[in-house]
């Protein structure tokens, strides 16, 4: 069963009003935003990734979903599979680092044993208060599409983690992503729609457009790339396209009325229009869509 088929089947079950039809990254319960993400060894992280970085990423990916709701961090639950003493201790250190960095208290959780040799499966569930952002379905025709920070660094970092030497700064973007919590709080009340870029700029922009019943055009030539990425990979179209379909950026993608300037540093990368689907240009000229727009196995 594909993820889409499974979620479609779940929609036929009794749903809580706060589930919002399972159409969004976060649910609402008792006035809190709640989101949950599971990371699987060999799927979402590498067995060779430092355990402290896995812990950081587990917290950061969940808090990124709260950032996209413009919410304040309330706390997290942790579901943890015990393994070796060394892995557990290193995980705890990174987990503590992340909790302190993001002022995120631990609420509870569960620890389990795993069969020998089984890949680790870790879950964090995050709660946020005072959510101020609308749903990702709120973009309007004519809105501009903006993104915080730079795109593609984490994708390059993943490549570096798997082999070639490269800038530590890019590896760090992959291993210790920074949820845009402050930016999310500021943007929440003013945007028409917002989500985090977790699976790739193109696929996530297309999802926002689809949820809003619109088409979206992105110009590769204005997608913000970091000096580190450009220095390592160059600045040809292949690099720009690779950055736009790489995952794990955890930047905020948002729709703002044309002509408005966002209250945080961000780059205007595209625009919404009536219709459906994603179109790509590069410095104004049309570009065919790549076979894959991003990482499709995760919600």
């Amino acid at each position: 069963m594909t993820e889409a088929e499974f979620i479609a089947a779940l929609r036929a079950l009794p749903l809580h009003p706060g589930a919002r039809g399972l159409e969004d990254d976060a649910a609402v319960i008792a006035g809190l935003v709640v989101t949950t993400d599971t990371l699987v060894e060999g799927v979402h992280f590498l067995a060779s990734d430092p355990p402290g970085d896995v812990a950081w990423k587990l917290v950061a990916t969940n808090l990124s979903d709260l950032a996209a709701k413009g919410a304040r961090v309330e706390g997290v639950l942790l579901n943890y599979p015990l393994s070796s003493d060394a892995w557990d201790a290193a995980f705890l250190e990174g987990f503590g680092d992340a909790l302190r960095e993001f002022a995120c208290p631990l609420i509870g959780g569960d620890t389990v044993s795993m069969p020998a040799g089984a890949p680790r499966v870790l879950t964090v569930t995050a709660f946020g208060a005072d959510a101020s952002a609308p749903l990702r379905s709120g973009a309007q025709a004519g809105d501009a599409l903006w993104v915080t920070g730079t795109i593609g660094d984490a994708g390059a970092g993943l490549a570096i983690a798997q082999g070639p030497d490269g800038p530590a700064e890019l590896l760090d973007r992959y291993r210790r992503p920074q949820p845009r919590l402050g930016e999310g709080r500021t943007l929440g009340p003013v945007v028409h729609a917002m989500m985090d870029v977790s699976d790739g700029l193109l696929i996530d922009a297309e999802r926002m457009a689809a949820a809003s019943g619109l088409s979206v055009t992105i110009d590769l030539g204005i997608v913000p790339l970091s000096p580190a990425l450009i220095g390592w990979r160059g600045y040809d179209r292949e690099t720009r396209l690779a950055a736009a379909i790489a995952g794990d950026d955890y930047e905020l993608l948002f729709a703002l009325p044309d002509g408005e300037t966002p209250p945080v540093p961000a780059t205007r990368v595209g625009a919404f229009a009536p219709g459906s689907g994603l179109s790509l240009t590069d410095r104004g000229g049309p570009v065919p869509l790549p076979a894959s727009l991003g990482y499709e196995h995760r919600v």
Copy 2:
């Protein structure tokens, strides 16, 4: 690292006030009780267990923690690893059965892919409202210890699932446990302490006593066994002891002032006194404690 060591290390991290020092099965956030349980294939369920029963059990074990808080079911999150179409479809059927049976709406969740051959790891997080029960640490010296239903059926059911023929009723207690939600709501306001029996009557009773700073005595001769269990296993001390250390009962264990009668069907199995530790008798005569008091790998 053992589970106890891991949890001790977690206690050194920033904790949410609702975490209650990670001393209880459930946390409190925004007025809701929240609890989360992960089930691992090969640890908490058998690879041969029907997927629909695994789904049922995943929901039921979490709702049992809500029952122990005297809470009303608000809903659940599901973290699910996609596998084969047949397994996924059968899981969904049992999951839907459980949601409908317990009037428990789905709030959200996450689906993930797993590496080929990896054991399934499933998490449900449950939310409850209007919790009325005190903490498990509230038992007082002189209180009687009571338990709902019958003990040891699920343990016998697990044995039957692994080999020997036996009564379908016992297998059903293992595969489709019934959280005591109604009983929990009734008991919540009147008990001094309450928890569910998930790891075994003896170990869970000892945990309640330890949390309350008391000792507890249980008489095996009055532990309630079902006619099905007695018919299948007989009624010797070995059977009574096996039942008292078997897990997965999901009955409610509670402390009530001596002389009070509980407002739901239940059996008085022991009493709290000053001191610490568990003592065992059988029809009044002392019985040495078994090497294991129950299942120790789960919180």
